[in-house]
């Protein structure tokens, strides 16, 4: 089975930061949770935004230096499977957006 975009992100970050696998995955999960994202339904756009705007601060809290540059360099190496994470139509945001549709 192909690795998910979440696995791919974690593996690349693990390699780049040298952080323990469990710590790293927990850190990424917390970063995703803070903006209501589910690791199983990530899109590349989600990962780009989280890696640019949330993860650097979380990684720096765990002693990773120059985390912003590191996250940017990791983004280019993430593998995204065909069709992955495309169905966002049942997220709270998508549902609440529909509720006021004209």
């Amino acid at each position: 089975m192909a690795a998910s975009i979440f696995d791919s992100l974690c593996e690349e970050l693990e390699r780049a930061t040298g952080l323990d696998r469990l710590v790293l995955r927990g850190t990424v999960r917390l970063a995703l949770k803070s903006v209501g994202l589910d690791a199983a339904a990530l899109t590349k756009r989600h990962v780009e935004l989280v890696a640019e705007k949330i993860l650097p601060a979380e990684l720096e809290k765990r002693g990773v230096a120059d985390a912003a540059r590191l996250c940017a360099s990791v983004l280019g190496r993430i593998a995204v499977s065909e069709g992955e994470g495309r169905d966002d139509s049942e997220s709270p945001d998508a549902i609440f957006r529909r509720l006021a549709a004209r």
């Binding site: 803070s34 903006v35 209501g36 994202l37 589910d38 989600h46 935004l49 989280v50 640019e52 705007k53 949330i54 049942e90 709270p92 945001d93 549902i95 609440f96 957006r97 529909r98 509720l99 006021a100 549709a101």
Partner: protein
């Protein structure tokens, strides 16, 4: 003269308070239509909840308790239908809350099931004792557990939405959400928590307030606030959406 002034005040306050019924019917009806057209369960659930609970259950209960011209049987029937609609509407809103905010959490599924069973138990149990005729004639109150259940259910709906509004605000800051949607969580949460406050005060803390001049006058602005929140959440006027989108993040 003083009595006339009191009656006028009561009538105005009751009219303002009943705005919630009208808004529930309009917004709930619209969401139901949206759900039918798109065949989407969340839209149907919230629409059904507002339509049956805010739109029909509350006025039916008032009719059952105030329509002295009706026979006792008819009034008891109205009270029974009001309680059944309240239970069905609340369960529908709870299902919406679980489905939107906690679809993967096992505890939330159990909580939803617990609420549904408890509501059904209350509706059936109240028919046995004290009986819907006694409730309609205001000789007895509905069960305390039924009144507490309604408050707790509304509170869960409100708290989940307010909690997600904070997450949505963070999403907005990184470009994953827009201000109108973030604000919708806030308004829906605010509206349901306002209703929670009303049900706690008039249903649990001091049921004698319900129907009294003081109670109706005090409840009117609170009900109006809930109505406006509901309206602006799901039928936002264009000027309001423009204002939200123009605000700095």
């Amino acid at each position: 003269m003083r009595r006339l002034g009191g009656r006028a005040m009561l009538a105005v306050a009751a009219l303002i308070g009943s705005s919630f019924i009208l808004v529930s019917l309009v917004v709930g009806g619209r969401l139901l239509l949206l759900g039918f057209r798109a065949k989407r369960a969340p839209e149907l659930a919230i629409g059904l909840g507002l339509f049956s609970m805010g739109g029909f259950s509350s006025p039916l209960l008032v009719v059952s308790q105030l329509a002295e011209g009706l026979g006792v049987g008819a009034r008891a029937g109205c009270a029974l239908v009001a309680a059944a609609l309240m239970a069905a509407g609340m369960t529908s809103l709870l299902w919406f809350t679980w489905r939107v905010f906690r679809p993967k959490e096992r505890w939330a599924r159990w909580l939803l099931a617990g609420f549904a069973v408890a509501f059904a138990g209350c509706v059936i149990g109240q028919a046995v004792s004290p009986g819907y005729a006694a409730i309609a004639l205001k000789q007895e109150l509905p069960w305390l557990s039924y009144r507490l259940l309604t408050s707790a259910a509304l509170a869960w709906c409100g708290v989940e939405s307010l909690h997600y509004s904070r997450i949505s605000a963070r999403r907005q800051r990184i470009g994953l959400s827009d201000p109108a949607v973030t604000n919708r969580f806030l308004l829906w949460g605010g509206s349901t928590l306002t209703c929670t406050l009303l049900t706690v005060v008039t249903g649990v803390l001091d049921p004698s307030l319900s129907g009294s001049l003081v109670g109706v006058v005090a409840a009117a602005p609170v009900a109006l606030a809930a109505s406006v929140s509901l309206w602006f959440a799901f039928l936002p006027p264009a000027f309001y959406t423009r204002w939200l989108l123009a605000r700095p993040a």
